[in-house]
Amino acid sequence: MASVLKIIDLAKIYSLESVLVYAVKGVTLEVEEGDFVALMGPSGSGKSTLLNLLGCLDRPTNGQYFLAGQDVARMEDDQLSNIRSRYLGFIFQQYNLLPQYTVVENIEIPLLYQGAKLSNSTTNRCIGLAQLVGLGNRLDHRPMQLSGGQQQRVAIARSLVNDPAVILADEPTGNLDSRTSDEIMHLLSKLNEAGKTIIMVTHENDIASWAKRVVRMRDGVIESDIRNEKPTVSIEGATSTIQTELLESLVLNQSK
């Protein structure tokens, strides 16, 4: 399998007044296409910082970062925006939907910043993604009218709309109860099955158990990097919200 991203000796140092905080201290990591990586570790170990670096939201103090064959570590702000909009999808712990927008409009946002011409076909794609995550009957709802799990599903649909090379998720189930968490994880693992590369930060073992690879961090460095031979798989029918055919048409066919 080809690697989709590769970081070499990546470091992030924050300077707080006189103190230097070494959030990430030289991490080397390669993620292959189609992998499902769980980034684990205690609080303050640098997981989020690393994920932000991978997400091109932050710039490393040191090291190299190649994403989809491009050296992104030293890119300009505008170029980074382009990279985010072409290659990356984000799922946040707080869902981060825009309250003024409907479900479909929220899903549409990344397309807007790709400079895509919004048309019936793009709207249909957004509607399709909403149906994929089981919100086909909530297209015109505002985030306030949705439960946490539903909001997170909108966020997942949004992260898929630009057909990204990697989906980055920072504690996607952190705000959800275990049943809803299972639903979300089921959805993510389905997406991974369909070929999506996912990197997910979590500190819960049973969430991490869905991933194919578990990377543990401590104090800004990688402590262990283990392949999970038997990732959790969803029992078919446990969640009715996912429609396999739709998933295939929207996700599989999109990744060339």
Binding site: D58, S85, L97, L98, L112, A116
Partner: protein, 442 residues
């Protein structure tokens, strides 16, 4: 200036068209409208400066333009090339303290001849105007005799309703003929054609040869010109003399006035004012203020000066409201940006460039100021139409107003400009936020 208006409108229209055609722009526009609607009171208060400023500018412009138009209307009616020289009764001076029986004052035929020597004067129409009852049988109407020459018709733009006006022969032959004002004709001959009938003026009867069309009053004089009766000046000189006896409050007084008014035409507009000056210098010889020289063209200058003053006031009001409005917008935009920090982070994460964020908030600021501008225009127009109406109904005062189209385009352009200028800083501030910091914002 019309070109300016058209360009401005085209520019504004294309600006908004571009925003609306372009997906990102349209989304920002819709979002702007939604969030403004969500905080409508706040948005309204923050553009109040712009609303009031625009309203004031629109209405002041309209009132300034109105008085200008009024002056132009006057000039059109009185003639831009004309000068009116009038006799006026001097205010109590040393001479009249002797209680002379006859008050002698005003323009004389000597003055007339002197003025006639001015080369730029192409036409002179003398008038002798005095109050006189016009009788027809038992009916009497208090009227004014205007005795003059045939040129009066032309110089005062009089149109005939029926019959003819005075002709040269009427003067030469000292005919007893009269031309009636429309209202006078109505009162004396309510149901008949007055032509060839007779009216009595003083001791003599005059044949009616024509009736004048109704004329607009012209604001200044209190007499109703439509009650005038016009007779040949030569006839009047013979029949009435130059002395007028008047009875008022039991006492009798008399006045001797040779000519009440001379309306004269100057060869070209350029020479009107200098000619007026020459006439004044001729009349200075009277040694008393028993005359006035009225140059309608002066009204124009006066109105222009008033308009200039209005413009200064306007600039002042506009700049103050610009500043107040701009600060209001900046203030509210800064608050909005802070409130929506997380939204900015989310958009940046989803691929928005800095300029996308800048533009989004800029559009929001411009939408806000444009709405403010439009509300201001509505307020201004309401004032333009309401104020003269109330002034007329409650204080019987006339406020001329004419909406200046240019002021509307100006206001709109300015409103958009204020949105851009004062929206830039908050928008840039939003755009320069660190995406992670913004995402972490609660």
């Amino acid at each position: 200036m019309l070109i300016f208006s058209i360009t401005a409108i085209l520019m504004l229209a294309s600006l908004f068209a571009c925003i609306l055609i372009w997906d990102k722009g349209r989304r920002s526009f819709i979002l702007a409208v939604r969030s403004l609607w969500l905080h409508r009171l706040r948005a309204f208060l923050s553009v109040l400066g712009i609303i009031i400023g625009t309203g004031a500018v629109i209405s002041l412009m309209a009132f300034g333009e109105g008085s200008m138009q009024d002056a132009l209307e006057d000039i059109r009616r009185l003639g831009a090339n004309n000068i009116m020289v009038r006799s006026v009764k001097p205010t109590d001076d040393a001479g009249s303290s002797k209680r002379s029986y006859i008050a002698i004052y005003g323009l004389t035929y000597t003055d007339f001849d002197k003025i006639a020597t001015i080369p730029t004067v192409t036409r002179m129409v003398p008038m002798r105007i005095f109050p006189q009852e016009v009788r027809r049988g038992y009916k009497g109407v208090n009227s004014r005799i205007v005795s003059t020459i045939p040129d009066y018709l032309d110089i005062h733009n009089i149109e005939m309703k029926s019959g003819r006006f005075l002709v040269a022969d009427d003067e030469v032959l000292l005919r007893n003929v009269a031309v009636l004002g429309s209202e006078l004709a109505n009162r004396l001959f309510p149901f008949e054609d007055p032509i060839d009938k007779e009216v009595q003026l003083g001791t003599f009867f005059y044949k009616i040869i024509g009736v004048m069309k109704e004329r607009s009053q012209g604001g200044v004089s209190t007499e109703d010109v439509n009650l005038d009766v016009v007779i040949p000046i030569a006839t009047a000189r013979v029949r009435f003399g130059e002395r007028i006896f008047m009875r008022s409050a039991g006492s009798r007084s008399a006045e001797k006035v040779e000519i009440s008014q001379i309306t004269l035409t100057v060869s070209d507009t350029e020479k009107v004012r200098p000619t007026g000056e020459i006439i004044r210098s001729i009349l200075e010889n009277h040694g008393k203020a028993d005359w006035t020289v009225n140059v309608p063209l002066d009204r124009l200058e006066e109105a222009e000066r008033a308009k200039e003053r209005y413009k200064m006031l306007l600039v002042l009001i506009a700049s103050i409201s610009l500043l107040v409005g701009g600060i209001g917008i900046m203030n509210i935009m800064l608050a909005t940006v802070t409130e929506r920090t997380r939204e900015i982070g989310i958009r940046r994460a989803l691929g928005a460039k800095r300029r996308d964020i800048t533009l989004q908030f800029l559009i929001e600021a411009v939408v806000q100021t444009s709405v403010g501008g439009i509300l201001g225009i509505v307020l201004g127009l309401a004032m333009v139409y309401a104020l003269p109406f109330f002034a007329e109904t409650f204080w019987d005062a006339r406020i001329p107003a004419k909406v200046h189209f240019e002021s509307i385009t100006w206001s709109l352009t300015t409103a958009v400009a204020v949105g851009i200028v004062f929206g830039i800083y908050p928008s840039r501030r939003a755009a320069l936020m660190d995406p992670i910091e913004a995402l972490r914002h609660v």
